[in-house]
Symmetry: D2
Subunit: 331 residues, 4 copies
């Protein structure tokens, strides 16, 4: 056994593209209860009441929905230097980017499927405005009790044409631990892999893109502390006419208690709780075959067909962009 | 900034001494819903349904209550070797111990206050008996729905004559991150420090022993997934005549939602949920002075006097043993 | 407006037939956490921890599943006399029955669809055995924390060939208040009606028997206090291999939070919470047409085809019995 | 046994006096999430999202806090006529009052302790404005998810110099059922009585006024559906600097899960869930003596001294008004 690289601390920020920035803002701010910490050009920077960083979700106006940068914070400046070297060595590095709201310089790269990603270390302190200060000294901002009031960013799921390639990249180059996998055809077809840099069950999942696209998003996931909060989220979304695609129900893999909806810009957003922490350094990957995986549901509503086929952006539009896909040889 | 040592993966096992082993077993097995995985001489080995290890709580019959060994699992064999060297260099090492149920060799040492601790890496796979197998492939054993049905071991709090000395030991020798502190007298008196080797808010707390004892236990803490489960635990303890010392209520530091009771052997046991995960590698320690700390409660029942004065074993008995206290110079 | 008859206090007891009495007992006792208060011949008498009566669910071994007697307790002896007269006048009365465990004489009748029903007033005091006494003086028996630990019987749903006829009977002869209705074809087809003798939203529902049977059961429903308890019930049923037909999800009509399963004998059993109390004496019946009713779900899993087609006993068996159907002219 | 009078359907509306109408409005509207349905002179009319009536809490600006009218809705016009006769016969009637927002004529009387009360039947239909319409046809208005978002008015507790006199009045003249009592000195001192016109455990409690005042309020109580909602309410009140007097904890009598705070005008307001419904027509009153009653808490925070001594208005001010107390002879 080789020691696992522990250079990535956690998922730091995700950027969502949306063609309906005002309605998307309403969804995250009014319904999910996040705070808009900053606005800058075509982008809004939002945060949950429990996110320690100034912003964890960036919304950027765009012609079509989808995922922008996925940013990973490193455990130290040294760890950042090591990861940048490893990424460059793997041929996936692009360039250093200028600091943006709330954080310092970040190094941009692409995963093998072409999703834009950053690694960075510097995170600036966020000084909450007076009206958002909590009476709890260890709470970054006030619990406003507006709408769902999600606590923090938890994870995201990305589609990939070759799940195995991206999973190996996350393991070998980023140092993530593999937690669960869906393997069909006697282990020959890798349909999904769930990985994390920390005891959080997963912070990124790679799932097969059945339409053969590249760089697409399956969903982002926001955390609430209790299953009851997920039920309450269903009440809130239903009252406001927001489409609920599936749940509240319980996944078999991850044991996550989920609710999937589409924000008005088209991206799938999960409100999430439950799951379990993984502390074992020698965790034995849990695998699910066709029969064991079933519908992906332990109990509750079966996942609809759209859960497999719908992602952002739509693959037709995506291919028209002829996005350049980097090459990664995991061997 | 020096990079933090990430050699300890998590709290692996705690041993409780009890003068009433049968009643203590009833408390953990029937009321809290843990499983007895193994019995060996004067010891019982228990586990929560979500603990991946074969056993996380060891109950040992003894003349008086208190804490036995506190065991920490390392992230790798190499990490174990490094920690053993560091502990020896600090002059706190004792000896290698034989494997016991569920795990391999462990190196015994004492923290500066004299609490017995182990570091180890090898953890044997646990094969659940047929009647305890879960229908969820990623659940170590069945959710039996007996009593409180605690999920897993979460943390413990130890009393120490010199909190700072033990806190420094945990930081420098074990590599734990400091999360919150209670500092009175303008920062000169360190009343409590909360530390963890992982994003879990704390896995060990050191709190001042107001009776000037050594090697004593304040409480162990067992995790349930929801606050509602803690309320349910109160119903169960109250129905069975078990003394509830405080809660269910919410701490200000840690934001933990707690319920403290004494198991029949005398040790304080917490049923716990809530709190928050700490992902920031440069987490700014949250400190509480006299005024901010208040009663330690954000809302709910004030902590009674016994919460400060009661610990196991009683200090009079403890001093009679003239336990040898090791010397640790953190400089 | 005529004043509503308030002679029936509440649903007192339901009898279930089961061809698998031992497995059915396991379901109600071990999984749902009810207590067997009495055994008598082929029948077992069970109760939830919050039921004030000695027994509320009677299980009777039988060749096939289905509903036995549905018993209604009156508000007083005078109220009983009045209801017996009204039932007799309606031509639906049968005979006085001997006292059975926990209660006095009951008058047997049939609703227009042929379901056997009783009205009674005398309910004997239940003296809990020592080990089942609660530490709460106002709790009938101990909260044992075994399995789902349902609190009490809540309601039942009966299939009927002519919903309107049975609904009118419940209103005019029993004095129940009508709460909600599903009316299709511009109000001409009455698919379901929900009625209650008290502020509880409904204690009986009549739903159209699409197979044209008589005297059949759709489901019985047992109450838990929180939605979280329903989710926990799903965990418990799933761990024990019990089929979950639908939920946990939220109905639109009644706002009930439901989980439907089949007990081993074949009868549909609901674990239920939420809904709402109706205090208005002039409650305006809420009606749902094809579009509004949708799938019967506000959010969560769609109700499967079996929810419409499956009932106990199977209609083929039922018709073979050539059960005599009474005649009721509501005019 | 005489049949119980079932003429009162439920508690319909309570009026609170407040010297700080703006801050009191902020408390009920912004923190508790009620809607202001109407404003009229010095009064605001509020409602919970689940209240079927247009308004259930009336706030009236006043020099000092306290309770205004307590209004009871009857089951029918005939029932109203009967209650008015009975009240007049008891010598406690005052006069017919003009219709106010949302309801028709009401007959004003005083309970033996002098609290102003109304009985009425006519309740006008409430047409929610478009932005408050729910997507659930059986929900009176939208679930806005603002703050605590209490569902409905549940009950109130009144102080009385002579608890027994007022309890007998509620039983004999209003027809309420007695549910629980606190009786000290071997049953000779009646400290508190809990009564209700329906299966709701209690809609009014009379508790001894230890200061010997008259016509005072102990608390009003607002319902939420789950215990988790009460915990959330504690988070919200704590974040907004509102004093929490006691809880969240569980009472022994009533089994209510409570949180007591003072609204800015000074009146005690409870956020409440749990408890139990009483269906038995021959309910055996649960009595608590000194030892059984203890602190009134089943588990959780002991009730502070203020819970006994604080009420609105302060008794000194109250006596200065020399309120005329009616005479009621229950024999």
């Amino acid at each position: 056994m080789t020691e696992r690289i522990q250079d990535i601390a956690h998922l730091g920020r995700i950027e969502l593209f949306t063609p309906k920035i005002d309605r998307t803002r309403w969804f995250f701010e009014t319904l999910l209860g996040m705070e808009v910490a900053h606005a800058d050009g075509k982008s809004l920077y939002l945060r949950g009441y429990g996110d320690y960083a100034a912003a964890t979700v960036k919304l950027t106006e765009s012609a079509r929905p989808g995922i922008g940068a996925v940013s990973w914070r490193t455990a130290s400046p040294e760890a950042l230097a090591r990861r940048v070297s490893a990424i460059k060595a793997a041929g996936l590095g692009e360039r250093w980017r200028e600091p943006e709201f709330g954080r310092g310089a970040a190094f941009r790269f692409r995963d093998p499927d072409g999703h834009g990603m950053d690694v960075y270390y510097e995170e600036q302190k966020y000084a909450a405005p007076a009206e958002l200060r909590s009476t709890l000294k260890n709470l970054p901002i006030k619990y406003t009790a507006r709408g769902v009031n999600v606590r923090r960013l938890d994870h995201l799921a990305l589609l990939a044409r070759d799940v195995g390639l991206n999973r190996e990249f996350a393991q070998k180059i980023l140092g993530f631990a593999l937690r669960e996998q869906v393997l069909f055809d006697h282990g020959k077809t890798e349909l999904g892999s769930w990985l994390s840099p920390s005891p959080v069950h997963h912070q990124v999942a790679y799932v097969a893109d059945v339409k053969g696209g590249h760089g697409r998003l399956h969903h982002i996931s926001l955390w609430v502390d209790n299953r009851e909060d997920v039920l309450r989220a269903a009440d809130i979304l239903a009252e406001n006419g927001v489409f609920i695609e599936a749940g509240p129900s319980k996944h078999n893999n991850s044991q996550g208690f989920y609710l999937y909806s589409y924000e008005p810009g088209g991206n799938r957003v999960e409100v999430y709780s439950g799951s379990y922490l993984v502390f074992a350094p020698d965790w034995e990957v849990v695998t699910w075959n066709e029969e064991e995986r079933g519908t992906g549901v332990y109990w509750g509503s079966p996942l609809p067909e759209s859960f497999i086929t719908y992602a952002t952006p739509d693959v037709v539009e995506e291919m028209a962009l002829a996005r350049k896909i980097p090459v990664f040889d995991p061997v």
